[in-house]
């Protein structure tokens, strides 16, 4: 079977003041067209590095990534990224944010009217048609992430890369956005690579879960195929034996096979320091989102 994306023998080393740090070692992964793959692992295991390599924001120290028979050497709209903190331009409205992407990607390929239609279509896909003229600071965290997804989808990417897209959202908003994402992926058959910390999210959304070992020198530990039939319903699955078995598999990998070995307080402090600004910023808007999003 022909694969859309191939990550072969990728090593990633960073030079730091303390010497070379090997983040990834011998990462191999093949992804088919229309497949939804989740990357899961503990903090600092290099999940984001893998995504940034596929996105072209980083260059592998050795090995390479091939998309559609061409090697990835720089970022591009065919590998659109949905960032964890939405990364919308704060001075543009919802519409203008998507418009910037559409005008750049489809310059000379679509007429003005077609572009307008395409922008409206993608914002409708994520249910944001009601707030086209709002700026990012006027909408909730969940809505911002919807617009981020719309912007990425509007680039018509070959692969959609999502870096913990729902990580900063409250549980209800997150569930709602997961359902939206599942619907969109079912209709458009996008190929998706998603980073997540959330075991339920990974099992619910994915065709395969790629579980990564702890860094340094992290690599693909196990790959778990999720053969649950689609469409999937989170309520039905909650009592499904097979679903729970799959969940357990992931949990076992994370908490038995790849227990964090470094001393916990230090790691937690580091994670907390890293998370805090995000959490503070998104706290208020996401609270509001519970009412408006659901």
């Amino acid at each position: 079977m022909k694969h859309l994306l191939e990550i072969s023998a990728v090593d990633m080393r960073f030079t730091t003041p303390k010497g070379t740090f090997e983040a990834l070692k011998d990462v191999n992964l093949k992804i088919s067209e229309g497949e939804f793959v989740s990357l899961i692992g503990h903090s600092g295991c290099g999940k984001s590095t893998v995504l940034n390599l596929v996105g072209g924001l980083l260059q592998a120290s050795s090995g390479g990534i091939i998309l559609d028979g061409k090697e990835v050497s720089e970022p591009g709209p065919e590998r659109a990224i949905v960032f964890q903190n939405h990364s919308l331009l704060p001075w543009l409205t919802v519409w203008q944010n998507v418009e910037l992407a559409v005008k750049t990607v489809f310059k000379g390929k679509k007429s003005r009217a077609e572009m307008r239609e395409w922008i409206a279509h993608n914002l409708a896909l994520v249910n944001m048609s009601h707030a086209l003229d709002k700026r990012p600071d006027e909408i909730s965290g969940g809505m911002k992430q919807r617009v981020g997804i719309a912007r990425a989808l509007a680039m018509q990417p070959r692969v959609l890369l999502m870096d913990e897209p729902f990580g900063a959202l409250d549980a209800l908003t997150r569930a709602h956005l997961q359902d939206t994402l599942m619907e969109i992926q079912r209709d458009l058959n996008n190929t998706v690579i998603m980073i997540t910390h959330d075991v339920d999210e990974a099992v619910l959304l994915s065709d395969r879960i790629v579980m990564m070992t702890n860094g340094p020198s992290a690599t693909v530990g196990e790959i778990l195929p999720i053969d649950l039939p689609r469409p999937r319903d989170r309520l039905e699955l909650a009592d499904d034996a097979h679903y729970n078995h799959l969940r357990h598999e992931v949990l076992r990998f994370l908490y038995e096979k790849q227990r964090k070995v470094e001393n916990i307080p230090a790691a937690e402090k580091k994670a907390a320091a890293k998370k805090k600004p995000d959490a503070e910023v998104s706290e208020a808007p996401t609270r509001r989102a519970v009412g408006s999003d659901l």
């Binding site: 720089e74 970022p75 591009g76 709209p77 990364s87 331009l89 910037l100 600071d137």
Partner: protein
């Protein structure tokens, strides 16, 4: 500041208020306006009191009333001068018409009025000069700041020069600028007076730096996330600057522009005084040299006018900043 926001707050809410909240708001208004008015009143009292204690070679230091009187005088002098000018032009036109009636083929030459500039004229000159110097400085500082912010190399190259020239007082630049402009700006029929060019360039040299530094810093602090977005979209260099960098840098840039304009205004007055270039500074210096019993009051009027104009310029910049700033609040 507090007062204006308070007033707008009140007027926005007035329609649906009942008696109670109306009372509450009027009390707030009193507090909002009351404090500044009280401060002003205390200042005037203190001024009046202290002024009587100071004996100068030109008599007692003027109190608020003497200064107010001179302010009215200065305006009257301005009005009188304008009338004289109008009368002069009227006489000239009458003479020309009279002579043309006798010799229709005669080519008349018209002369412009050459009265001394009044206080208000000097204000106008100073305002035009400060704005010209400020605009020129911005035209240099903003593009250079952007390039510095984008390129570490350029930044490293320019930074020592910025640090070296930034603390230089306008008075140190002035002789150099005067000599250089005299040597270089030698057109027969100059578009601008030489004194105007000297003042303007001195202002430019001194008020360049805050805008330059703030723009550069604003550009370097563009968030990495937005840079990533730009990379994913493969925006060209120019589009990247226009769509991502410039809007990101605008809040910082305007902070710099506001500081620059404040400096420009202060520098201009000093430069005008020292170089005897037309403007408010010259007015102050002339009054000082004049040494009449009213001079101190007239200088005090100028001081207050300089303060008020500086304040107004800052408010204008703040309004412009609010218009273009995408961040909430100030």
């Amino acid at each position: 500041m507090n007062t204006t926001s308070l007033v707008s707050q009140i007027s926005a809410r007035l329609p649906d208020t009942d008696r109670d909240s109306l009372l509450r708001y009027s009390r707030q208004l009193l507090r909002g306006l009351g404090a500044p008015l009280l401060g002003l009143a205390l200042f005037l009292l203190l001024w009046q009191f202290a002024a009587q204690k100071v004996d100068t070679s030109l008599g007692k230091f003027p109190g608020p009333l003497a200064v107010a009187e001179q302010a009215v005088n200065l305006y009257d002098e301005h009005a009188a001068e304008r009338e004289k000018a109008a009368a002069f032009y009227q006489r000239q036109e009458d003479r020309i018409a009279e002579r043309l009636a006798q010799q229709p083929e005669w080519q008349p030459t018209r002369r412009s009025y050459t009265g001394a500039p009044t206080f208000l004229d000097q204000i106008g000159t100073s305002l035009i000069t400060v704005l010209a110097g400020f605009v020129l400085a911005s035209l240099v500082a903003i593009p250079l700041g952007i390039v510095m912010g984008l390129s570490r190399f350029v930044s490293n190259a320019v930074n020592p020069l910025v640090q070296l020239f930034r603390p230089v007082s306008p008075l140190a630049w002035l002789p150099l600028v005067t000599l250089v402009v005299s040597a270089v700006y030698t057109s027969e029929d100059p578009m601008f007076a030489r004194s105007f060019v000297v003042s303007m360039i001195t202002v430019t040299l001194c008020c360049l730096w805050p805008t330059l530094i703030n723009t550069a810093v604003g550009v370097t602090t563009v968030s990495q996330d937005l840079n990533n977005v730009s990379q994913v979209l493969r925006l060209g260099w120019f589009t990247h600057v226009r769509k991502i960098v410039l809007p990101s840098a605008i809040p910082m840039m305007f902070t710099g522009l506001r500081v620059s304009l404040g400096i420009a205004w202060m520098v201009l007055i000093a430069a005008e005084m020292l170089a005897q270039n037309p403007g408010l500074g010259k007015f102050v210096w002339d009054e000082f040299q004049n040494g009449s019993s009213q001079s101190l009051s007239r200088i005090m009027v100028a001081v207050l006018a300089i303060g008020l104009i500086g304040f107004a310029l800052d408010r204008l910049m703040l309004m412009a900043q609010r218009r273009v700033d995408w961040q909430k609040g100030d």
